[in-house]
Symmetry: C2
Subunit: 333 residues, 2 copies
């Protein structure tokens, strides 16, 4: 953020405002962590703040401070519309196109006259916002929220409760501090959070160690199914609706699985291909020079980051698998 932006934002937030926070569909640890951290901070500054999500979040995030206050659009559309109509400022957290909130919410947000502020680290942002706290090199939106709070109010404004939210966002979006985006700055922020009393070990347990036995069995089953395409340094797992049902699939159950595919020696591109109602969902990871963001934009109606992206195919699973294998062959040309 430039000094000018910081000055403008300080001035904007110097008197109590009605503020609505929004994030993307299928909110993950960083979406929820960054939203709740900003929510708790803005509330402590005397603003009237509502934090909203398009749809519900996974159970392993529901321990988070403030999570009971979250307004779920899919369940409470009227309340959301009222809050939006009433809002002077709308924050877009961890996304940069209104379409990432889903069709209905997108329409409402696009037609809203509130001042819009984006805090995000994804590629190719839309230009809907008045202010951008945007850095594609940042490890997470939570890290940018830390920078935002510290720029406006100093480190003292971050307490243990806000710290737990930020830790969760940073941890989940860096794969526990392993990705390239996890820099010295990221680790020093995290060190500051631990000194506030945040228990990193407990947050890891709460987020990662809540596996049902069904989920562990699904993981085991899926790992035995990996398909290698060695000449293309690619491997994938596919899971049909029937297979998922057999393990009583719950949202979030396949999270992390695609990283296991990437952990196979010699694999630079990994995919998890899951059959949903009337469509097939792609989750893509890579290492090295191969951009799955570009790959997904070209072939899978999606996008994301250089090394982590998602996509959607409107076909059945068998067709999707053939299409995927063809795309890999073309993508490697």
């Amino acid at each position: 953020m430039s000094d000018k932006t910081i000055k403008s934002l300080k001035s904007l937030l110097s008197s109590p405002k009605r503020i609505l926070l929004t994030t993307h569909k299928s909110p993950d640890g960083d979406a929820i962590g960054s939203s709740l951290a900003l929510y708790l901070y803005l509330k402590s500054m005397g603003h009237d703040v509502t934090v909203s999500v398009p749809d519900d979040m996974p159970g392993f995030l529901k321990w988070m401070p403030g999570s009971d206050d979250i307004l779920i659009f899919a369940k409470h559309k009227k309340s959301f519309e009222e809050k939006l109509n009433n809002a002077e400022i709308v924050f877009a957290l961890d996304y940069n196109h209104f379409k990432r909130t889903g069709n209905e919410m997108e329409k409402l947000l696009t037609s809203s006259n509130a001042l819009k502020i984006m805090i995000d680290h994804h590629q190719s942002p839309d230009d809907f916002m008045k202010y951008r706290v945007w850095d594609v090199m940042a490890s997470s939106t939570a890290q940018l929220v830390w920078d935002f709070i510290v720029a406006l109010s100093g480190k003292k404004a971050v307490d243990k409760i806000i710290g737990e939210c930020l830790y969760t966002g940073i941890m989940t979006d860096t794969g526990s501090f392993r990705f390239t985006t996890c820099t010295a700055h990221t680790l020093r922020i995290t060190a500051d959070l631990l000194e506030l009393g945040v228990r990193g070990d407990l947050i890891h347990q709460r987020v990662y160690d809540q596996n049902s036995l069904n989920r562990i069995h699904l993981m085991g089953y899926a790992l035995e199914k990996i398909v290698l395409m060695p000449e293309y340094y690619t491997a994938y797992i596919s899971l049909s609706k029937e297979e998922l049902k057999k393990f009583n699939y719950q949202p979030g159950d396949t999270e992390g699985l695609v990283n296991k595919v990437l952990s196979v020696k010699g694999v630079n591109v990994a995919a998890l291909i899951t059959e949903k109602e009337n469509q097939v969902r792609m989750s893509l990871r890579s290492v090295g020079d191969f951009s799955v963001n570009q790959f997904s934009r070209t072939y899978f109606n999606g996008g994301g980051h250089e090394h982590a992206a998602g996509g959607i195919l409107e076909m059945n699973l068998d067709e999707a698998l053939m299409y995927f294998e063809e795309a890999v062959k073309k993508g490697y040309k």
Copy 2:
């Protein structure tokens, strides 16, 4: 380290010495990482240094700078004896009882007249050493080696190459920065290492993402085999020699598996029980108040840390499983 210890060590190392570094059997990322970091540092200070291990290390550590120079006792006993007889100083890294090096090496080390220095973070140290850099709260021996180098020569003595070794030790012994022992100090050291040009993402890949397809299939198979003892908040996986053979088991293939067992909701104590030649090996993990160090000392002829320990049973697998279940019931009384 006290100022007095630092002064003594500085004086001791102010002229070139013949130094032998040793670590424990089945050396892991921290044993090798801390040994190689200290080796490279002492060499750069003009000492004549040999780094040794009781037996070979896993393949996923063989990329490490200096690893080609390591003297493997099991393969080169004569050379080791010569180096030991010739040494003025012996360092014991990442262990605190000579028995942790195995019977033969233990005898040689015990009868050696060299000055002995221990750098370690395990519980209940023996009193064989002249100097101790010992802190049971430290995340890793690598962290203590950082403290040692910085106390003696300042941060400037740590370069990128030494940094890669230290990063590996810290990363592997903190479960990628998640355990309680990973403090603000640990993260700030790691931040300094990244600023030296150490690539945390690549080290993660080199250590964790070298899975053979056999290993991934073994993981999958094992996860489908988890046994729950819900009334004791305990779960375990057992693997027989035949099962391991079916997946062409290589040393290191089951690493991390016990943490997956611990990730099941409601599980506070996890075990991986593997059949070896004429004995059964226990790998134990816990969260909360249950000390697997104590548990293993009482029942499994082993020990380690509060939340991570190992043990050995001299019986067949079926007997070991019955014995384990009984021990759990007694341990939870």
